[in-house]
């Protein structure tokens, strides 16, 4: 640990699993105090146990505005300020194309991925302004840059997150409030989300190989590949970076 996040307070949604959990671990290792939230209480408590005294878990549904108000208050009560928000809560739906699309799936994916991120940005700005600035990190996806036929709502939601990020960045810049807002676009990664999907298939190995082959590096990344970029964006090393989309994708979008 070299203290890259010394004296920072971070809030990480989706912290029970995947990128959220690993980012929380890395942030805490580098000196941050971390509140993680999630719908999944068992997983969230497990992450909190890994963080020890540097972290705590709070149950939160990112789609509910009242839950955001209460969550921000809990962070301020506990750690007195907020410097970093990582919007990592998200859901994916497979076999979701424009012809078979289902209303309920569309609403769920849009609510969690897009409205949840929008609410997070909205509620983080006031406390960050009081802290003299901050860094908001949104999880978009390579599917915000390239389409996938069977990921209709997911593509739409992540495309939305990508431009929501830029709009928030420009707004905060114009306000001169020293709050930065950036997106990360991961390729397909072996986290809870993808594992669940693969486990639901008969031909798990075949699909795994097919997805890996879409990435020129020939393998799937893991949560730490994203957590390292989260560290960079959360720290003052990136003080000149805002409205950017950081691609961590094994070359998926290079070709």
């Amino acid at each position: 640990m070299s203290g890259r996040l010394k004296n920072k307070v971070a809030l990480v949604t989706g912290g029970a699993s995947g990128f959220g959990r690993q980012s929380a671990i890395r942030l805490a290792e580098e000196g941050a105090l971390v509140c993680i939230t999630d719908l999944n209480e068992a997983g969230g408590e497990e992450t909190a146990a890994m963080l020890g005294p540097r972290g705590f878990f709070r149950r939160q549904d990112v789609t509910r505005e009242d839950d955001w108000t209460a969550t921000i208050k809990a962070v301020l009560d506990r750690f007195a300020k907020l410097d970093v928000l990582v919007n990592s809560a998200g859901v994916a739906a497979a076999a979701d194309n424009i012809e078979d699309a289902d209303d309920a799936i569309w609403d769920l994916v849009m609510d969690v991925n897009l409205t949840g991120t929008w609410l997070g940005c909205r509620h983080a700005i006031a406390p960050m302004r009081r802290a003299g600035g901050g860094s908001i990190i949104n999880l978009a996806s390579v599917l915000a840059l390239k389409g996938e036929g069977g990921a209709l709502a997911y593509c739409a939601s992540k495309g939305g997150v990508r431009l929501l990020t830029k709009s928030v960045a420009v707004h905060c810049g114009n306000q001169r409030n020293n709050i930065r807002c950036n997106a990360i676009c991961p390729g397909y990664m072996l986290t809870g989300m993808l594992r669940d999907f693969l486990d639901s298939l008969n031909d798990r190995e075949g699909e795994h190989a097919r997805i890996a082959a879409m990435h020129p590096l020939g393998r799937l990344g893991d949560a730490d590949d994203i957590a390292q970029m989260v560290l960079y964006l959360a720290s003052d090393e990136s003080r000149f970076v805002t409205g950017a989309e950081m691609i961590v994708d094994g070359g998926f979008t290079a070709g």
Partner: protein
């Protein structure tokens, strides 16, 4: 423990600006650094300041012989080579109408072919043991500048050269990653010259400040932090990417 322990980096343009800052920062994270530049006086001074983890070699990126010698010197000095940072670059003012053939040729020779030569040598050497190539593109390689015709063109070329090299290596299973950093306006000698050559430097400066929503000016270290990330194994999954570090200029 440094983030770049075990790395041997050749940094072109290491005598000044972004190259000098990244050389210092790579060394501070444990890398051994060869500073390569055609500016011998400043290059030697940067190497001396860093100390025993750094050395200097004269390099004109427009000359193949000079490249061959710089790579050989790096491997001899440090026993290997696994990071290349292509920072050497020039900026000439000019629109499609005003620029001369000479400006165009020089810009392409240094910015594009110089980077291409470096990539070629790096791939040849690193395909066996892996490595990371970082090329300096620019936001001028994403959006065109009317008065920066040759420069914009050269940086657009570097941006796509980077992706082509990345895919070529990845498809062969070589662990050689290749990414670009696309800086906004960074306070370096290149920028000073750029403004000094304008009719109204002050007005030009203010116009550029307005382009960047963040309202702070970029320093070479802002780019250095991204170069450290791309050089070390934290970015092992990152290839063919373009990392924009620009105070938000490209967000709108």
């Amino acid at each position: 423990m440094g983030r770049c322990d075990g790395k041997v980096a050749l940094v072109t343009g290491g005598a000044s600006g972004i190259g000098a800052a990244s050389a210092r920062m790579l060394a501070a994270q444990g890398a051994q650094v060869m500073i390569a530049d055609r500016d011998t006086a400043n290059g030697k001074a940067v190497a001396a300041e860093i100390g025993s983890n750094a050395a200097f070699v004269a390099l004109d990126v427009a000359s193949q012989d000079s490249w061959d010698a710089a790579v050989a010197a790096t491997i001899t000095a440090f026993g290997g080579w696994n990071v290349l940072v292509n920072c050497a670059g020039i900026l000439r003012h000019g629109s499609i109408e005003s620029e001369t053939m000479d400006d165009w040729r020089q810009t392409m020779e240094v910015n594009v072919k110089g980077t291409w030569r470096g990539c070629k040598l790096a791939v040849a050497h690193m395909k066996a043991g892996g490595g990371s190539i970082v090329n300096l593109s620019s936001i001028a390689g994403i959006e065109g500048g009317a008065d920066l015709c040759a420069y914009s063109t050269s940086k657009g070329a570097v941006r796509l050269l980077t992706k082509s090299v990345a895919l070529y290596c990845a498809e062969r299973g070589w662990q050689v990653r290749c990414n670009s950093v696309n800086p906004g306006i960074i306070e370096t000698p290149m920028l000073e010259t750029y403004f000094a050559e304008r009719d109204d430097p002050q007005a030009e400066r203010e116009a550029w400040d307005r382009v960047m929503p963040l309202g702070i000016r970029g320093e070479p270290e802002d780019i250095g932090h991204m170069i450290v990330y791309l050089a070390c194994d934290e970015s092992r999954l990152v290839t063919g990417a373009e990392m924009v570090v620009d105070g938000g200029a490209m967000a709108r």
